[in-house]
Amino acid sequence: MSKIVVLGAGIAGHTAATHLRRKLSKEHEIIVVSPNRNYQWVPSNIWVGIGRMNPKDVIFPLEPLYKKSRIEYKQAKVSIFWPEGDLKSRKPFVEIEYVFGEKKGTKEKVEYDFLINATGPKLAFDQTEGLNPGTNKAYSVCTYDHAIHAAEGLKKVMKQAKTATEKINILIGTGHPKATCQGAAFEYILNVENEIRKAGLRDKFNITWISNEYELGDFGMDGMLLSYGNEQLSSKELIEMVFEDRGIDWILGAGVTKIDEGLCTYENLEGETKTISFDFAMLIPAFSGHGFKAFSQNGNDITEKLFKGFMIVDADYTPKPYEEWRVQDWPETYQNPSYKNIFAPGIAFAPPHAISKPRKSPNGRDIFPSPPRTGMPSGITAKLVADNIIHMIKNNTDEIHHRGSLGNMGAACVASAGFGFTKGSAIAITTFPIVPDYQKYPETHGRDIKKTFGEMGLAGHWVKHSLHHAFLWKAKMKPFWYLIPE
């Protein structure tokens, strides 16, 4: 009998836990430890943030599902890793603290045979002075409760616009010089613009995109060359075309350093410090590790064996210049090299380096996007980690059977550009591979041009809406859920 502990119940953690439960017999124990009471389908938070969806449309409680599926659930947060056990017990364990219910505040040791760290990122609002969702007129859509506040804030400025004599300024983008997840901010700005236009208030607003990207369409992935209809188009040209069409201004190479009431301060790649005022902002914060600690059996601090901000896995972390980065640097088993029974899929693994070219301002400030690992890659890497653990248990082996590098994996980003059955639209972009392989595809910016395409229109909205229902069906483990790919 094996005991598998999954830390986190987001896209990666929940995917791993459900696949493990389906494929392993009941004698094996699956335990999920998460401080969150609900599963949330994060990609649809955009629609909560414009008031087109209710939070109940994007979340469901985890406990009843796990109870029904014989997955043990502990609503708790993990604090310390003991991968060798301690002097009392040789079995590895994690220290957790309950955050809800009768056991709130109680600490517990949870032993494991296999550990999946799917704790995702810490939303590091504290790394940007004054950036705190719902204050200083700045909001976030990173979680459903943040998105509720954003929708209220947007409603307020739209009401204000009806009687305003001056234009109202909206600022959307990244709120830290090294923030990632530009895709979410991109979806949000298009949805906000669409809502304002539908309300007949477009001429009352200035809408501005602010981002740490060097060029539009970088998305933390070094941009893309796309098939678009019968031609080839760079992601820069595609996004520029969309922004021009929607009358959206943009500020690039901007590292936001401070937010005051309605005022954003940023440094640009020329080293200038500038400000821009706003009446409503949605800024994506930096993502960081959770600051976990790890100890050896005799109590020595071994945090550096497990963590480098995020968790260390089978990547090549040797520091090297951009010109020497290789696709092979990226991990493919998400296994910790020191402790073979620990894995970190999704956002929880430490990337070997960025994907976009690193850039510095003359003052030495890094201003470029961190690499994205959200959504689809989170699900795919979590499933392959689950499959490897299943293989190891069933065959009583240490051999890793399944591999999946972001350098040999495709992803789709269906970016909503407006909500509505007949008036909605979206920009569907696929990319293969996620991390460009400049050796394999030297002529097409590191990507397979047949599998890297962009498309705009109402069909994209229908796809995004269908995916919302399909992935919630899958997450709720409804009949044949496992047939839906990650």
Binding site: E240, V242, L384, N408, G410, A411, T430, L458, W462, E486
Partner: protein
């Protein structure tokens, strides 16, 4: 020269009849990219 979305392109993008077929094609195209496997970059597989 910057590219622009023309009025006729917009009409096609928002035409429900045309977009229904685009929807079917798009689902298949996305599935072909994301669901047809992934693998190593270090070993042949």
């Amino acid at each position: 020269m910057k590219k622009k979305i023309t009025a006729s392109q917009k009409r096609i993008m928002m035409n429900p009849f045309i977009q229904f077929f685009r929807f079917l094609a798009l689902n298949i195209k996305i599935l072909m990219v994301v669901a047809l496997g992934h693998g190593s970059t270090r070993t042949k597989n």
